[in-house]
Subunit: 470 residues, 2 copies
């Protein structure tokens, strides 16, 4: 079903080799801007980072580049139309803000003074996410140069936000405000990674998230457990019983309707996940945990990537200080989060959790439950033509079979899916050892250039194999 | 089986009436000493309170009065031997320290400047416990004056500690150190109350207490619930499941062996408890609670007084701040207390709780459990001759039938029982409205004088009806 594409692997590599030094120098310049969105005293740096990127995208050739203000940090939008009006429109998503970093956290060098050691470029943001945003600049130039085009084979848009590391609090509003400008046939998120340096992978989905906080109120104040204990309901016991009832003995969530609509893995998807070289001991070390535990009938990777969960993020009630205090606590609370998978609707989840909780509140306990804004799950079918283009482009760049992963976490890309109605694809070249959010964050330079190479092949493949039917 | 006693009700009343004014003046003087043991800047006041009491006991006629130092606040010991060496020895227990109190907490007058309003004497310590210690001074004098004795009919000892309101931390050591001096056939605790102003009662037992703290450790640090959630054990979920497993659906404790040896209520004891004018609505208001809840097959009073419990005093784990944090917590903990009743052994309880917990720790969770020093339960059989003497003496003083209660809390009196091997009896005249530990604490003056009157009858009755068999 796939057609040959017009990009040439060796021509692309030659082009990248010629421009590699300038590309890395430019990236280093951007990495020197400490665009830490969570720290108010770096607000000017975040703005400077947006301006720097906007200038570089103009230099790259994007005819339209705008810095979009938000209530918080600015985002950068760029657009480069294809000459063929029937070409598909692709929106690349990334972010230009970074996590906080300080030398004394354990960095071997200044986190905002990039250092190359062997194949590694160390700096805050090298992998998360400046490096992965930046490979698109050289990628589109390689695409043009090696195909002789004046414009990309697809309508190319980029949206690079400035608040991802501080919760993307204004992102949904931004996307809704500019929905017309952002309209696209597919979203390509370059803010993720691959399985391992020697195992190129594409991520095909991301879990969603519903979060709530449940408070149980018993006595009007803490009361004496000698005088009253054993004869009135204890809200801490009651909330523990609620939490305990969340899962059955097979670690399945017991809330009626919780699995309604869940898209089960196909046999093919299971096989594909099983092809990944998974080492449970190594995975446990990454999880800093001492055993695996989860829903019966599923492997560890299936559990974290493809199955919905109910997790306690925090629980509290009564006296938690040193020593003892013999009270029946006045109240107790639990913070729950539910990871959702394709087919699950956060509104439905909220409703059934509310009903299930209300049904289980003991007599004499008053309860309150509040939900935060939910994030929907994303899942791209394996046979989606755009996904197949990503897989082919990556395969040409890496010269290896590309395998499939998913993402267990939840991210703002789901807002793009929801508002724009476009499928979300993931193109990332970071590896687990890159140390996102940690000291000595780095990116593997070879992989960064494989990212460039992938996009150099991608736009032509997409235009060729996924005609926009309108 | 009971013999007539030599005290005369009207003679006792006349004597008390004659000395009432001086008695109340003396008590007021003592109440002016702010003997707050929990506040270090009142340490000198606590010492002054002990010295004041020692002087007053000497003035009362006790031939031996000593102030016993501890690592903390001093206790007062007094001894007045009977002329008959075969007379039983009785140790009265109380405390001379008080709870903190400040005008701005809501007091209508200075908490350390006693005020009489109608039948009520308001001051910190009026009921808890200076008033109830002090009625023994006039009581023994009335006993002597109205019977023409030179010494009490029993070997009378008093131990008035100075740290009850700050946890009696040195009390056990004090009792063990002076066990020979404190040796007695019965302990009479005057630090409790009666059911109501118009319902004189004696308390026949007190629950014991075992306390532990259980920690569950999962990942080495909080981990991302998106990346790992659903595939590793969550210690907060695990501790909730442990807590939920503590009770069955009948609110009975499920730990195997928990009820081993429990002294069940006799039919007579159940009848006696049922005779109390119990108003559940009023009780719930006192408990500041909205429903009763407890072990099936037992009334509310049976639950708080006669049944062992497992209660959560505190629970905590993960993120408890505002908003959300999507983590699988590194750890969670619960503080549990077990109220114990006669027949239960705290060492056995500790062992079975440890075993039960260890059996329920999921794979991948490491646990730690620590127990605090336990307090044993006390229970005096209804037919104990000393208890019958207390009931008769109280009945003569009040001119009403005396009913039976128990105490759901746990107290240092259990140390006296354990170290001295003597049964613990309770003689208290405080009523629930006295406001222990609260602003505007008061004692009903009429009831205080009924306390005097009760002891004026008690010592003769005890000597007559409970000969020391040695």
């Amino acid at each position: 079903m796939s057609h040959p594409v017009d990009s040439d692997v060796s021509a692309v590599r030659t082009y990248i080799e010629q421009h590699r030094a300038a590309f890395l120098d430019d990236l280093a310049e951007w990495l020197r801007i400490p665009s830490v969105s969570a720290q108010p005293d770096h607000a000017a740096d975040v703005r400077r980072s947006a301006d720097w990127l906007a200038a570089k995208l103009r230099e790259t050739g994007f005819p339209t580049v705008e810095v979009w203000a938000t209530e918080g940090a600015p985002a950068v939008f760029a657009e480069w139309p294809a000459n063929d009006p029937a070409a598909p429109t692709v929106l690349v998503y990334g972010h230009h803000d970074v996590q906080p970093a300080a030398r004394e956290d354990g960095w071997g060098s200044d986190p905002f003074e990039p250092v190359v050691r062997g194949n590694r470029l160390h700096a805050r943001g090298a992998a998360d996410d400046k490096g992965q945003v930046f490979f698109h600049t050289l990628g589109v130039r390689a695409h043009l140069a090696t195909t002789g085009r004046a414009a990309p084979a697809v309508h190319l848009k980029m949206l690079v936000e400035g608040e991802e590391e501080s919760g993307s609090v204004h992102f949904r509003d931004l996307v809704e405000e500019h929905a017309d400008r952002l309209a696209s046939d597919a979203v390509i998120v370059s803010d993720t990674g691959m399985w391992a340096e020697d195992t190129p992978t594409v991520c095909t989905g991301m879990r969603g998230l519903a979060e709530c906080e449940i408070h149980f109120h018993g006595p009007d104040q803490d009361i004496h457990s000698g005088s009253f204990g054993g004869a009135v309901p204890n809200p801490a016991t009651a909330i523990a019983r609620l939490v305990a009832a969340l899962h059955d003995d097979h670690a399945r969530v017991t809330i009626p309707g919780f699995y309604d609509g869940v898209t089960e893995l196909t046999d093919r998807e299971r096989e594909l996940l099983a092809e990944l070289p998974f080492d449970e001991e190594r995975w446990l070390r990454t999880a800093k945990s001492y055993a695996t535990h989860g829903e019966a009938g599923h492997t560890t990777l299936e559990r974290v990537w493809t199955r919905p969960t109910a997790e306690v993020n925090g629980i509290g009630g009564g006296y938690q200080g040193p020593g003892s205090k013999t009270v029946v606590p006045a109240s107790a609370m639990v913070k729950l989060s539910f990871r959702l998978v394709a087919g699950q609707d956060p509104d439905h989840i909220e409703k059934i959790v509310r009903d299930w909780t209300a049904d289980r509140v003991p007599a004499g306990i008053r309860h309150r439950i509040t939900f935060a804004a939910a994030t929907r799950p994303c899942l791209t079918p394996l046979d989606h033509p755009a996904l197949q283009s990503v897989v082919r482009a990556m395969g040409r760049a890496f010269g290896k079979p590309v395998r499939y992963t998913r993402e267990g976490g939840s991210g703002p890309a789901a807002d793009l899916q929801d508002v724009l109605g476009a499928p979300v694809l993931f193109l990332g070249i970071s590896v687990p050892s890159d140390g996102w959010h940690a000291p000595n964050e780095k990116v593997e330079i070879d992989l960064l250039l494989k990212g460039v190479e992938t996009t150099a092949h991608l736009w032509g493949d997409l235009a060729e194999n996924w005609r926009h039917e309108s």
